[in-house]
């Protein structure tokens, strides 16, 4: 148990290191001089040189890479070229929007998927099952940005229940902030929920055919009790895998959705940074997003250990 935990922790660190190397390399290979971008094409050569010196661009690549990593360990990610403030501060303020948005969307997706998946599995090959399958098929096919626009049209412009976009900030209070996140979270969640509901249904149907579910029924459990107490936990193993993968999709989805709803989140930051060629922000945000995805998968691994004793005792 301790060994497998250590193993997973180590693989988390190694993956993260690999991500930093790849991001650094890609940005190194890409053409374009940040100093030139900042000063514009008419810049004087000596001004350019001075700026390069100031940005540390005159150093060889391996030293700049080392400095970047060292800074990262100290919590210093450098300063944004365009905003002129520390990247940590920039990311920190944007996370306050993106993390709650992603968590809310994921919770909505998981909640919806469990309800639909369990319902469909317990009514296998009956109208309820077909209904859920049809609805999820549509859900999978709807692009989240389009759904976002439909939600704005209906709930914000017609019913006027929500504002059409923007974020009041957490200073405005918990509920007003959550209210601003609800529609974008829903837009993100629907497609994920549709995929996940199908996974829940398939995993449950798989497990419901297992011998131990029959054993549970022979003990006197009703069909619903056997599903809840015996099938569900076993079915959660494949479901957790998919949730881990979906989280990465969901983070990618925030880039689009934050733009549709004009939310000042990480996705919007990366979008703007790319437009402005703010390499300092891009490389750190990309590494940061990768770190979140790797961490989520690490958590999924821990979840496997928690749920399946066979994995705990395997090592």
């Amino acid at each position: 148990m301790k060994l497998s935990l250590l193993h997973r922790l180590l693989s988390w660190a190694v993956t993260l290191l690999a991500v930093t190397a790849i991001v650094f390399l890609v940005l190194e290979i890409l053409p374009g001089d940040p100093a030139l971008v900042l000063l514009g094409p008419d810049a004087q050569p000596d001004t350019l040189a001075a700026l390069r010196l100031q940005l540390g661009l005159d150093q060889p690549a391996y030293i700049r890479y080392g400095a970047w990593l060292a800074g990262m360990l100290h919590g210093d990610l450098g300063t944004s070229y365009t905003y002129g403030i520390p990247v940590t501060e920039l990311i920190g303020s944007r996370l306050k929007v993106t993390i709650p948005l992603a968590l809310l969307a994921m919770s909505l997706a998981i909640g919806l998927a469990l309800v639909l998946g369990i319902y469909a599995a317990s009514r296998h090959n009956r109208p309820g099952d077909y209904g859920v399958m049809a609805v999820t098929q549509i859900g999978v096919a709807i692009p989240s940005f389009w759904l976002g626009m439909l939600l704005i049209l209906f709930f914000s412009l017609t019913l006027r229940w929500f504002s059409a976009g923007g974020f009041p900030g957490w200073e405005a209070g918990f509920w007003p902030a959550m209210r601003a996140l609800l529609l974008p979270a829903l837009a993100l969640a629907v497609a994920q929920a549709a995929v996940l509901a199908r996974v829940v249904r398939a995993a449950l149907l798989d497990v419901l055919g297992e011998d131990f579910v029959r054993t549970a029924r022979a003990k006197g459990l009703t069909r619903a009790q056997a599903l809840r107490r015996h099938a569900l936990r076993n079915a959660l193993i494949p479901v957790a895998t998919v949730i881990g993968l979906q989280f990465a999709h969901l983070l990618a989805g925030t880039i689009v959705i934050e733009n549709v709803f004009s939310l000042p989140g990480l996705g919007r930051l990366i979008f703007q940074s790319i437009n402005q060629r703010d390499l300092m922000v891009i490389k750190n945000v990309v590494v940061f997003l990768a770190a979140i995805v790797i961490t989520v998968n690490f958590v999924v691994d821990l979840f496997y250990l928690a749920i399946d004793p066979r994995l705990r005792h395997a090592s």
Binding site: R214, R217, A218, K219, L221, T222, H230, D308, R310
Partner: protein, 326 residues
């Protein structure tokens, strides 16, 4: 009145015109403290018969006829009443202990589950009773076994756990579906002895489903021989072993290493296989593999008495009786 009384049981796949009977018109009974065996090759319908008693036939299969347990017809009971009987008055022991237990739940919790469900015991009380059960099934180190997961046990230990689960609520009827088939021969012996002791101790009836004639000979008092979904012969085990009537039973006995039964002859196999339900035509189903088959076997023979408590379904019984025993 017998504990379990099955009359004219049919088990059907599908509905209407295309329905196929996989078990046809079988009747038998099990009394308290009695061990009755159902013997047959795989695919003959013996496991389905067991599941129909619990009302747990796989989807798409339905049972008709009468299954009386303690005077109540199980086939007319609602799901709620059946749930109250399953695991409580009727315990089931499964063939494959490796898959019959939930891999992510401790052994203690799995055995305690029927206790908490049916007897209204609290958590602590059920755990104490579970420990007691684990002692009764002679599990080494029962206290530690409470918190162990199935994958940490051997096959024999798992089967003991499955037995403890079936016994938890002191059922009056036990159904064991090939309880030793998946186990090593050395462990088989121990599990069978345990079952015998427990039935003796609790006076519950045992319906033992097996394809193993050795197991049947040692364990059961009466036996039904099934072939292709019908009973071809039934009677006291001892009589059937020493003097089998139906050509199928005789062929089965010749296919067993005889030393276990006290004979010493060559082993024979039965040519062919059990016809699938869709291939079953009219007449005696065994005729395609029977050395005595004749034109009259095109018609299904009824079970006719053959000595006290014995019946067999074969047109050629007079010839069988007259011939030299194998």
């Amino acid at each position: 009145m017998p504990l379990l009384d099955v009359q004219n049981l049919f088990i059907r796949i599908g509905r209407g015109e295309s329905a196929i009977d996989v078990v046809r018109d079988i009747s038998f009974s099990v009394g308290s403290g009695e061990i009755v065996g159902i013997l047959g090759e795989s695919g003959c319908g013996k496991s389905l018969t067991a599941f129909s008693v619990l009302g747990l036939l796989p989807q798409g299969l339905s049972a008709a006829g009468q299954i009386k347990f303690d005077g109540r017809d199980l086939l007319s009971l609602g799901e709620q009443d059946l749930c109250a009987l399953r695991g409580n008055r009727i315990g089931m022991i499964f063939q494959e202990p490796a898959t019959a237990l939930n891999p992510v739940q401790t052994v203690g919790d799995q055995i305690a589950e029927p206790l908490r469900l049916h007897t209204g015991m609290g958590k602590r009380e059920a755990r104490a009773e579970t420990l007691h059960l684990l002692e009764r099934i002679h599990l080494p180190n029962p206290r530690a076994a409470l918190d162990v997961y199935p994958h940490q046990m051997s096959g024999g230990q798992r089967q003991r756990v499955v037995i403890a689960m079936a016994l938890a609520c002191r059922p009056s009827l036990l159904i064991a579906d090939e309880p030793t088939t998946a186990l090593d021969t050395t462990v088989q012996r121990q599990i069978l002895d345990l079952l015998l002791d427990l039935v003796d101790e609790t006076k519950s009836g045992l319906l033992l489903i097996t394809h193993d004639i050795g197991v049947m000979a040692e364990m059961t008092e009466r036996v039904l021989v099934m072939y292709g979904g019908v009973i071809v012969e039934s009677g006291p085990t001892e009589k059937i072993i020493t003097d089998p009537a139906h050509p199928y039973t005789r062929a089965l006995l010749r296919a067993v290493p005889q030393r276990a039964l006290g004979y010493d002859t060559w082993l024979e196999s039965i040519p062919g296989t059990v016809p699938a339900p869709s291939e079953r035509l009219r007449g005696c189903l065994f005729r395609s593999r029977c050395s005595l088959a004749g034109p009259e076997c095109e018609v299904q023979p009824d079970l006719i008495p053959r000595g006290p408590d014995r019946v067999a379904a074969c047109w050629r019984l007079p010839q069988v009786d007259g011939s030299v025993p194998a």
